[in-house]
């Protein structure tokens, strides 16, 4: 029997066996595989179902479907596959920049090159130079979907499973089946699924490399960790949101306090970083010299694109309703202001991870730092929320139900914040189904089942046991403040969703629903960021091994 735990904001119960998902449907599905000989099966079943859901989402529309002349992200990715295989490497970052010019780092280019070659082997028309612009066919879509799934399967999914395994074995005393349940809670996070396999991008590769890098920190493999982190950044520059924590954690472990200065470790890390970058950039330099690097940097960091473009739930875009930054300041000043704001916002987490470089603090610190970037930095997209969301969902391994409810809450709000984008993409059906599925799977909707079903239909063994807590309390935090914040924001999100669905916004304010959405989301993200930082501060001295 799992122990019931009193709510408290610490990890005292970490050593008690079990997960926070003992009454959830995913537990109900996997518990038959509890006996040791079958435990490995559960892992593969979860992976296959995770892929199936991604495939099913992939049947839907994608960004820019049937919208000439520019189409959308799907066309951008396809276009890069087209140019990388037909042009010599020195042209990649120069070719017709007006039409989806390559603006992601080199690893994305190599990734596109590989899948472009493979795809051309199947059907050369998909990626014919220039003439394939805006090419759309069922088979091409299937192929692109398959590449996104394959990339995630090779990168992100093993990393998640591995992370849950390490945490379950070393910190939280969870057996194989419980680790699998937590992994599925992370893998069924709706935001990543719908952006990568609905909207169409390859964020899972960047997140997967970042997570592999975190994993290697857990194993104390600093050089490997550095290599994976560089790969992550070289796939998508957004991974830089993690870099301060990565930097300060490694710095602290190699040279703090000064009497423990570890030159060998510092050297290894530095060499690993330099060599990985060099390897990735070498093909460009060999063909065309150093000027390529300048162009890559110029393309990858578009400082000329302004503080923000679309409506996004961060500090600048939300306060812009009241203060018109773009009229008050020049772009250059704005860049500086946002830089200072970001540095201030990330400093607490950087400071704590530097003075207390503990593994158990890593997901907290990464989350705190990347949320700060999302809220205050320059040129943030609504999709960038995936970056802070990844370390946040890693907290689902925790035992404290209050933490779980906070993580579920913010993951739902993050999903909600992408609604305007998904609505544009024609992914409404997928949005609603994934929203329900992800919450229902981990038991957030148990209270409905309990309330709705006749007793013989109430699923067992989970709900039928007399455990009042999970059914009623997971959705909200037990503290009155966070409880009411959660409740009010859910209510607000529901109302905004309904209004958005039923009414056309007034002609005077065509973006009214979107602004309501981003304002609510920003408020939640801001509060959550404060909560994460507070927790990081509280937990800094916590010695898990003694608990």
């Amino acid at each position: 029997m799992p122990h019931r735990r009193t709510p408290s904001n610490n990890l005292l119960y970490a050593k008690v066996p079990g997960t926070s998902f003992e009454n959830s449907p995913v537990f109900d599905f996997l518990s038959p595989f509890g006996p040791a000989p079958n435990q490995w099966v559960a892992r593969y079943i979860i992976i296959i179902f995770a892929i199936l859901i991604r495939l099913a989402v992939g049947l839907g529309s994608y960004s820019g479907f049937n919208t000439p002349p520019m189409f959308g992200d799907f066309e951008a990715q396809r276009h890069w596959m087209e140019i990388t295989q037909h042009l010599s490497i020195d042209k990649w970052y120069f070719y017709d920049l007006q039409y989806w010019g390559l603006d992601y780092p080199p690893l994305t280019a190599f990734h596109s090159y590989f899948f472009g070659k493979l795809g051309s082997f199947i059907n050369p028309a998909w990626f014919a130079l220039d003439v394939s612009r805006g090419f759309e066919s069922v088979d091409l879509k299937s192929y692109m979907r398959a590449t996104a799934i394959l990339s995630e399967l090779l990168c992100f999914i093993p990393a998640v499973i591995w992370y849950c395994r390490w945490m379950g074995l070393n910190y939280f005393n969870q057996n194989a089946i419980e680790q699998t349940i937590i992994a599925s809670a992370i893998l069924f996070n709706p935001s990543l699924i719908i952006i990568d396999h609905g909207h169409f991008q390859y964020n899972s590769v960047m997140l997967g490399f970042a997570l592999l890098s975190i994993l290697n920190l857990l194993y104390d493999n600093f050089a490997l960790s550095a290599i994976f982190f560089v790969l992550s950044i070289s796939f998508k520059q957004m991974a830089l949101y993690y870099s301060p924590i990565m930097f300060f954690y490694m710095l602290s472990l190699s040279c703090w306090p000064l009497k423990n200065f570890n030159l060998l470790r510092l050297a290894t890390i530095s060499i690993a970083v330099v060599l990985t970058f060099a390897t990735l950039l070498l093909p460009f330099v060999l063909v065309d010299g150093m000027s390529q690097i300048g162009q890559i940097l110029f393309r990858v960091f578009p400082f000329s694109r302004g503080l923000f473009e679309d409506k996004v739930a961060n500090f600048w875009c939300t306060t812009n309703i009241l203060v018109k930054y773009k009229q008050l300041f020049t772009d250059k000043t704005l860049t500086r202001i946002s830089l200072v704001a970001t540095l201030v916002a990330i400093s607490p987490s950087c400071f704590i991870i530097f003075t207390h470089p503990k593994k158990v603090l890593l997901p907290w610190a990464f989350a705190a730092c990347s949320w700060a970037f999302y809220l205050f930095s320059f040129q943030v997209h609504e999709k960038s929320v995936l970056v802070p969301l990844m370390p946040t969902t890693l907290l689902l391994v925790e035992k404290d139900l209050d933490i779980i409810s906070m993580v579920c809450w913010i993951s739902n709000i993050a999903f909600f914040s992408m609604w305007p984008l998904l609505k544009r993409d024609g992914l409404a059906l997928e949005y609603f189904v994934l929203g329900v599925l992800s919450n229902w799977l981990i038991g957030n909707l148990n209270w409905i089942s309990k309330w709705l079903l006749p007793s013989f239909l109430i699923p067992g063994p989970t709900l039928s046991k007399k455990v009042p807590k999970r059914e009623t309390k997971t959705v909200v935090h037990t503290h009155w403040f966070w409880g009411s914040v959660t409740f009010v924001s859910y209510l607000g999100a529901t109302v905004i969703q309904l209004v958005d669905w039923l009414y056309v916004p007034p002609a005077k304010y065509p973006d009214l629903w979107v602004i309501l959405n981003t304002t609510l989301s920003f408020a939640c993200f801001g509060l959550f960021w404060l909560w994460i930082n507070y927790n990081l501060y509280i937990l800094r001295d916590f010695k898990l091994k003694d608990a």
Binding site: S31, F121, I122, N123, S449
Partner: protein
């Protein structure tokens, strides 16, 4: 886990429904337009014209209850869906997303009947049987066959099998009148269930209408006395009532002959374009192999031409390229003798009679399930113009008996694996390829383990033939390279003209390989059904 477990299908229903909703945008076959056309016909026309209307080639060819069902559904079509063209009687349906959402949702909603039947099956089984019943029930609820055929390809089989299972449960509980009534209702929904009607007929006759004992056969008089006339009358009148409700309105308008002509179109060929994996698939395959031998191996041609006039053969081969390419049309045999409908009918009937005879001696519920399965097998393997989808009719009754004897497990595993893989060609477009393959794979893994875990050890385990299990296992694993290689060939056929022309070959690989497994499974089940006594025991017996 301590505490009494509640075996509920609720979570399974929610999970599978969410997946099915995500599959809304998936490919749907012409069956979708068929059913849409029926919605339109039943909604827009008076009843007497339902079976006469032929604007579209997809005329109404299901029995009356299904027509009533479509009429009922059409009453709920919202205005926005009707504007989309859902209810227009046209040559070819002109519809969009709202119609797809509406019709796909009706499939999901009508499938609740199946879930209710399966939940009832769990609820009425004895406490110590519950885990086993749950495995069986969930395997049917999550069946890849239903997912592929109903929720992607588009049909309403889930509800039909729900009614079938309700009728089986009535038989299990000894409510024979209810059982007969429900089966008649089912026949009036979809006449394909005639495949298993002989088993129902004999079972109900034996357990409900006859009281056979040792002296029954001594004189004609005693035989007559052993008939329970009142029961016979009750059953006959119940069944008649159901059929009268179904057919009377059409009889009133005098359209019964048209209705019958629609239900039983005899103009079709022996096999479908894609051969259902049965005896005829192997038979046609043999013919194709012999033709190739005839054309390319010198020695063989002289032997064959001893039996067949070679000039006419060559001219026939030249004239007919259509069927080798797999286009719709009659299959033409070149070397082996042609099969007539009568031959196929006699073979089916022979094996069905064989399957129901033991029921007369041991009319237990399990034997009944066994004979249903064998009747369905016989129709599937020997029937005229069988669809690959009809394999569901074999799989579902088999699921209920597979757990009762460990020796039945391998025939069962072989059947479900081969049967579900044989459905793959139904979905021939690229987006659904991985969906169907991965879903079937994960289902097979889960239920391979679960069935093995909950099935009973046979009393006569010593007689178990182990090497047969190994053969079955190798066969099942062989399905993986089969599916993969056909998948790769499909992908490559984009590029290579030669492979495009050989599309029929890939379909043939599916039907021939799956036919081998299904025939093997039929042998395995027949062996235990006829020669062993474990199926005779009632369901409460535990080894």
């Amino acid at each position: 886990m301590s505490g009494k477990r509640n075996f509920s299908l609720w979570n399974i229903w929610v999970a599978s429904t969410l997946l099915k909703v995500l599959l809304y945008p998936a490919y749907h076959s012409t069956d979708f337009d068929v059913h849409r056309n029926w919605l339109a016909i039943t909604n827009k026309l008076p009843l007497k014209e339902w079976y006469l209307e032929n604007t579209s080639q997809w005329t109404l060819d299901y029995p009356p209850f299904f027509a009533y069902f479509e009429w009922l559904l059409s009453q709920f079509v919202p205005a926005s869906v009707a504007d989309d063209g859902c209810l227009d009687i046209t040559d070819v349906g002109n519809y969009g997303w709202p119609t797809v959402v509406f019709q796909r949702s009706t499939v999901i909603l009508s499938e609740i009947v199946l879930f209710l039947a399966l939940q009832k099956y769990i609820n009425i089984s004895a406490d110590k049987e519950k885990a086993r019943s749950f495995v069986v029930a969930s395997s049917i609820a999550l069946s890849p066959g239903l997912l592929i055929v109903d929720h992607i390809h588009f049909q309403y089989n889930g509800m039909m099998f729900g009614i079938l299972i309700f009728s089986l449960l009535a038989a299990k509980q000894g409510k024979y009148l209810q059982c007969g009534a429900l089966f008649s209702v089912l026949l009036c929904f979809k006449h394909i269930f005639l495949y298993i009607a002989p088993a129902y007929f004999v079972f109900l006759l034996r357990v409900y209408c006859l009281d056979i004992h040792e002296n029954s056969f001594k004189t004609p008089r005693s035989l007559l006395k052993s008939v329970r006339w009142s029961n016979l009358f009750k059953l006959a009148s119940t069944v008649m009532t159901v059929f009268v409700i179904a057919f009377a309105p059409f009889a009133y308008y005098g359209v019964i002959p048209n209705l019958i002509a629609r239900l039983f179109p005899f103009s079709r060929g022996l096999t479908h374009a894609y051969w259902a994996p049965n005896i005829w698939a192997l038979y046609s395959f043999l013919d194709r192999v012999l033709v190739q031998f005839y054309l390319h191996v010198p020695g063989i041609s002289s032997i064959i031409s001893r039996y067949i006039e070679s000039e006419s053969l060559i001219s026939r081969l030249k004239n007919s390229t259509a069927s080798t390419k797999g286009l719709v049309g009659d299959v033409e045999f070149f070397i082996v003798p042609t099969i007539t409908p009568k031959m196929s009918f006699i073979l089916t009937l022979f094996y069905q009679i064989l399957a129901v005879l033991p029921l007369l001696l041991f009319p237990t519920f399990k034997k009944f399930l066994g004979s249903i399965t064998l009747c369905a097998f016989a129709s599937f393997l020997f029937g005229w113009h069988v669809h690959e989808k009809a394999i569901m009719l074999v799989i579902i009754p088999f699921s209920f008996i597979a757990v009762s004897d460990r020796r039945l497990l391998y025939p069962f595993h072989t059947l479900v694996n081969a049967g579900y893989v044989s459905l793959f060609p139904l979905l021939f477009k690229s987006p659904e390829w991985l969906v169907k393959v991965l879903y079937t794979l994960v289902w097979c893994i889960i239920y391979f383990l679960s069935f093995n875990e909950v099935s009973k050890l046979s009393k006569s385990l010593s007689r178990r033939v182990f090497y047969m299990d190994r053969t079955n296992l190798i066969y099942i694993l062989g399905l993986i390279p089969l599916t993969l290689s056909i998948g790769v060939l499909d992908v490559l056929s984009e590029n290579f003209e030669l492979l495009k022309r050989l599309e029929f070959l890939r379909l043939m690989m599916y039907s021939v390989y799956c036919a081998l497994g299904i025939i093997g499974s039929w042998n395995g089940l027949s062996w235990i059904y006829f020669l062993d006594d474990t199926l005779n025991g009632d369901s409460t017996q535990v080894a």
